[in-house]
Symmetry: C2
Subunit: 150 residues, 2 copies
């Protein structure tokens, strides 16, 4: 595993370097798409005194400074990932909330620029694929009519 320059990342973002923050960054590196709870659990392994509240604070700071990104899959708790340079989207399991990365479906700019922006200042376009993950595919009974929507 590539060593993470947590110090440089935090300082570069104008944040103070603290153990909780370094630990959250490392947790995110080790746990892609982790929930706040999962991050807290992982952080607690090395820093047992870090509170869940602190994890929320840190995640908030990291996303605010662009170091991390939050994914909010509908009715499931928010997930977080390190903001990596590459462009990718997400597969979300409607049953268990599992998330997988999808490489960007190449340079189809149309997906980014709505024909009519209704006066919105569009900052970001997000593509999310909903479905059942491998595990839930077998576990779940009803195979709902897959209504594909674009």
């Amino acid at each position: 595993m590539t060593q993470l320059d947590t110090h440089g990342m935090l300082r570069g973002a104008g944040l103070r370097v603290t153990e909780p923050r370094r630990a959250v960054l490392e947790a995110l590196a080790g746990l892609p798409h982790a929930s706040a709870d999962a991050v807290h659990a992982r952080v607690s392994q090395t820093l047992p005194d870090v509170s869940l509240q602190t994890v929320y604070n840190v995640l908030h700071d990291l996303t605010g400074r662009g170091l991390a990104r939050s994914i909010e899959p509908g009715d499931h708790p928010a997930r977080y990932e390190l903001r990596v340079g590459d462009n990718h989207h997400h597969l979300v399991c409607t049953h268990c909330g599992a998330i997988a990365d999808v490489d960007c479906v190449v340079g189809h700019a149309p997906c980014l620029t709505p024909d009519d922006d209704h006066g919105f200042a569009v900052a970001e376009a997000e593509v999310m694929f909903w479905g059942l993950c491998g595990d839930c595919k077998h576990a779940v009974a009803v195979p709902s009519p897959a209504s594909v929507h674009l």
Copy 2:
């Protein structure tokens, strides 16, 4: 306004026809992208005794049967819309949660089919554009660095 065949819609979906359900359908027709609370407020105008809980129940039933669709914009409460035949996506205001429809960015199937589905049974692809709506554009101070993501 085109009259809504609420009776036919419900029966066609295998649901009993009740006043609360007809009222919710009509509320959705009149209030695109309404929250459960907004639907409840609208329904209460004609049926003051319908509880918020019932609205949640009905919305759940309607989405389950494919009559309605729920949009879950991150940290804002869920919104609902009648499931219309056309394909469109949504502009969401990151500040106030306002939602606008965007016509489908034409037939770019690539947006629909991830290269690697990681074993997922993909049922739906959703595109969401995040930004500031016309009102909030002026109201909000900081114009954050528009990091476009595809």
